[in-house]
């Protein structure tokens, strides 16, 4: 649909240098790049607002400068950053301006077809109720919606946008881009948009054009961005690719340089405070940890400083059942509030064990690895716990704390290593792992948790094997010690 060949141009010098770009009909191309990289100049060259100094732009195979302004406006409409309007036109009047290239005759009255298209654009952008409202009184988001409606009423085949969501709140940004995407999919609209938000661009665009110092690098497949390389090069900063929870689209996090400053190794002596009574067991750390766990409160991946197990007797559990408190999360939320533990900084579980039987094994390993391992024997009846005939009660919970950086893969690997070490220690005590653990969420759950401070450059750098060996050793010893201590209690 639009093709740039060796396109160069700019106001004073060449802001855009020998750009080649071909946009097919119905494509959504996002242009990304740092300030001053020539994005806007490129868009102006492509839309004909600026004449190229070298090279050419072809629109449907014909050079752009051979179109009359009106003919061109039937093919391309443009939406700028924030447009100021003189005089107080109403919303409907502004949208009606979009029909200019289609109007004929000296008087330029709106034909029924014009009215239909204006109506359609108003409906599409949900502006019908504001049609007689003065444009200048609208909020920024509504103004952009009106200008979008104007561009849509223009019925062009391609829509160029220059940072259309620049001053908009994120909800308007998403709303606007959803609308564009709908238009793209339902009418085959071609979209070329300068976007300043990499994540938004990666969510909506089919292809990316990265501008750097006037030169264009194309990202044909959006998946190529799952490797942070191109973006880090483009913006010369650190970006962290992350996984979108619902969509197969690359997304990014930005890391403040601030987080590399505080790199003192945690010392076990004053890293945490332990509170343990007949109601709960609570570890409060000075620094936050990135946690991966199956805790009922804060399961999955989250950041936390408070780690707790709350004790509930079987009677209480039954009472809960009768009262119809269906889920442990709700119970936990209440308990966290009750004991003054901030829920959004906590990972917690309900246990039916008696908390005196909790065993805390801690060991300061050589920097940067710190491990505190807590093993619980969550059962009301310690004697029956050790009977091999009651397999579902053989639950051991492990919480592993590490001062260092692990990526998600290392976290999973750490969990596996810890689980294997735990099983080995249990097997040596003649205990088989429980079956169908956690299938019923109202039953006891064996908690497996790995928590990392994510400080420093990376524990994995010091060598993969020694690290996992240390994890294995620590978990094995802790589980063993915990089981032995339980046995000693039983023997007494």
């Amino acid at each position: 649909m639009i093709e740039a060949r060796q396109l160069s141009g700019g106001y004073t010098q060449f802001n855009v240098k020998e750009v080649n770009l071909s946009v097919e009909r119905g494509q959504f191309v996002a242009i990304l790049g740092p300030n001053g990289s020539g994005k806007t100049t490129l868009l102006k060259l492509l839309s004909g607002a600026l004449a190229p100094k070298k090279g050419e732009v072809l629109l449907k195979g014909k050079p752009l400068n051979r179109y009359s302004t009106k003919e061109k406006a039937k093919l391309i409409s443009v939406l700028g950053q924030e447009e100021q309007v003189a005089f107080d036109f109403t919303v409907e009047e502004v949208v009606a301006l979009g029909r200019y290239p289609h109007q004929k005759g000296w008087f330029g009255l709106l034909s029924p077809q014009d009215r239909k298209k204006i109506e359609e654009a108003l409906v599409m952008t949900r502006l019908v109720h504001l049609r007689h409202h003065p444009f200048y009184q609208l909020s920024g988001g509504e103004k952009q919606r009106v200008l979008l409606a104007k561009a849509l009423a223009q019925e062009a085949e391609a829509l160029f946008l220059d940072e259309p969501t620049n001053h908009l709140d994120i909800n308007f940004t998403i709303e606007m881009l959803d609308l564009l995407k709908t238009w793209q999919q339902s009418k085959g609209l071609t979209i070329v948009a300068i976007l300043h938000d990499v994540n938004v661009a990666a969510l909506y665009a089919d292809r990316l054009a990265l501008m750097q110092q006037g030169q264009l690098q194309l990202v044909e497949e959006i998946d190529q961005l799952k490797d942070a390389g191109p973006l880090e090069q483009l913006y010369t900063m650190k970006v962290e690719p992350v996984v979108h929870p619902r969509l197969d689209r690359p997304q990014f996090m930005y890391t403040s340089q601030q987080c590399f400053k505080d790199n003192k190794t945690l010392s076990l002596a004053d890293a945490y405070q332990l509170t343990q009574n007949k109601h709960f067991f609570h570890l409060h750390f000075k620094v936050p940890f990135k946690v991966m766990s199956n805790c009922q409160w804060g399961s999955g991946i989250r950041w936390a400083r408070h780690f707790c197990h709350f004790f509930l007797s079987h009677d209480q559990r039954d009472a809960d059942w009768r009262k119809g408190i269906p889920r442990p999360e709700e119970r936990l939320e209440g308990l966290l509030h009750q004991w003054g533990i901030p829920p959004h900084q906590a990972a917690g579980a309900i246990t039916y064990a008696q908390l005196e039987h909790y065993v805390l094994v801690e060991k300061q390993v050589e920097s940067p690895l710190l491990a505190v391992i807590t093993v619980a024997c969550p059962t009301e009846d310690v004697k029956s716990y050790l009977k091999a005939s009651v397999p579902e009660n053989k639950l051991v919970s492990v919480m592993l704390f590490i001062d260092g950086f692990l990526d998600d893969g290392a976290l999973v690997q750490g969990l596996i290593v810890a689980e294997q070490a735990k099983s080995r220690a249990m097997a040596e005590q003649g205990i088989l792992p429980a079956k169908a653990n956690g299938a019923n969420e109202n039953q006891d759950r064996e908690i497996m948790m790995i928590a990392v401070t994510q400080r420093g450059k990376g524990t994995m750098d010091s060598g993969v094997k020694p690290f996992y060996q240390t994890v294995d050793q620590l978990v094995y010893q802790a589980v063993k010690k915990a089981l032995l201590s339980v046995q000693s209690v039983v023997k007494q």
Partner: protein, 352 residues
């Protein structure tokens, strides 16, 4: 669709046109009536009928009254209506083109440029094509002043923002004003003629001036009317208008020429009369909104009425002496201008 609301809007606008036309006729007749020499309404109507029918309807009115009404008052009233209409419509066009609600022929230096052109003709007694010389120079002067103002704003690198444009207009006007003062200082017997233009007056013009003004007025306003949609499209700026399909360079040139033709010709026949082109389009926009399809014709009707009333006041308020009509329009216009300026600033404050 909302046929009801559309219908209601149209009928509302029709009423405004009917009222505005009625106002023009009423004020026209009133202006014929009110003067130092009282002529009965019935006689005025008879004289008009007599003249318009080409003398077929005979009347019983003294000949000197016929002369007063037909040769002095009627051309004066019609010229007031025409000049007012021209100033207002060109003001509306300048405001639309420059997206600047504070632009008008006066603030943009077109009026003073035209005045300089006229003064040059009087001073040097230039005569190229008989009586067309003066309007020709006036229009050329107006256009060159406009080019100068635009050149200044371009050079300032701040673009055509409201402030720079108005500032450039003031600078150019002041410069031209000093040139005119120089010519006045150097002039001898031409002094009265020159001052005549500067005050802005409609007295002692007669049919010849009306005939001189009319062609420019008609051509200019037709050009402007044909560009009402372009003027609307320019509301979002030249680049946005270009993307809507407006051939900005060409249309801008045509609108500027059209507006300068009308305002230059107005200055040529009546001298510099300020504020009509500034405030009338504003009042019209308050009534019918900013659509130039209505702003242009209604500005003409209201502008004509306003100037006719102002002229009527100018010649009656200290009768038998006469005030320059520019004094009246400025006395009314300046406070309104100030009010609009404050209101515009208030609006901008709200929206940002």
């Amino acid at each position: 669709m909302h046929p009801i609301s559309t219908k209601r809007e149209i009928s509302g606008k029709v009423w405004i046109y009917v009222l505005a036309l009625g106002l023009v006729v009423a004020i026209g007749l009133l202006a014929l009536l009110v003067s130092s020499v009282q002529v009965p309404v019935a006689d005025i109507l008879f004289i008009l009928l007599h003249k318009l029918s080409g003398g077929q309807i005979s009347i019983n009115v003294p000949n000197n009254l016929v002369t007063i009404i037909w040769e002095i008052r009627l051309p004066r009233v019609l010229l007031a209506l025409g000049v007012g209409a021209g100033l207002a419509v060109s003001g509306a066009a300048f405001q639309g083109l420059l997206r600047n609600p504070l632009a008008d022929p006066y603030t943009l230096g077109v009026s003073s440029g035209a005045a300089l052109g006229a003064v040059l003709v009087i001073f040097f007694k230039i005569s190229l094509v008989s009586f067309m010389t003066l309007p020709f120079f006036a229009i050329a002067g107006g256009l060159s002043a406009l080019v100068l103002v635009f050149g200044l704003t371009r050079l300032s690198r701040r673009g055509t923002s409201i402030e720079t444009l108005v500032l450039a207009g003031i600078i150019v006007s002041a410069f031209i004003g000093s040139l005119i003062s120089l010519l006045i200082a150097l002039s001898g017997e031409e002094l009265r003629g020159i001052l005549y233009w500067l005050f802005g007056s409609l007295s002692m013009r007669g049919w010849r001036y009306l005939a001189l003004y009319l062609p420019f007025f008609v051509v200019g306003t037709v050009v402007l009317f044909l560009h009402h949609r372009e003027l609307n499209a320019l509301a979002f700026g030249e680049e946005a208008a270009y993307h809507l399909g407006v051939d900005v360079k060409r249309k801008r040139g045509l609108i500027l020429i059209g507006a300068s033709l009308v305002s230059g010709a107005a200055v040529a026949v009546s001298g510099t009369i300020g504020f009509v082109g500034l405030i009338i389009p504003h009042v019209v926009r308050l009534l019918v909104g900013p659509d130039h399809k209505h702003v242009l014709p209604l500005s003409m009707l209201l502008g004509g009425s306003f100037l006719a009333v102002a002229d009527m006041t100018a010649r009656t308020i200290i009768a038998p002496q006469e005030l320059p009509v520019g004094v009246i329009t400025a006395l009314v216009g300046a406070p309104v201008f100030a009010f609009l300026l404050l209101r515009a600033n208030g609006q901008r404050g709200k929206s940002s």
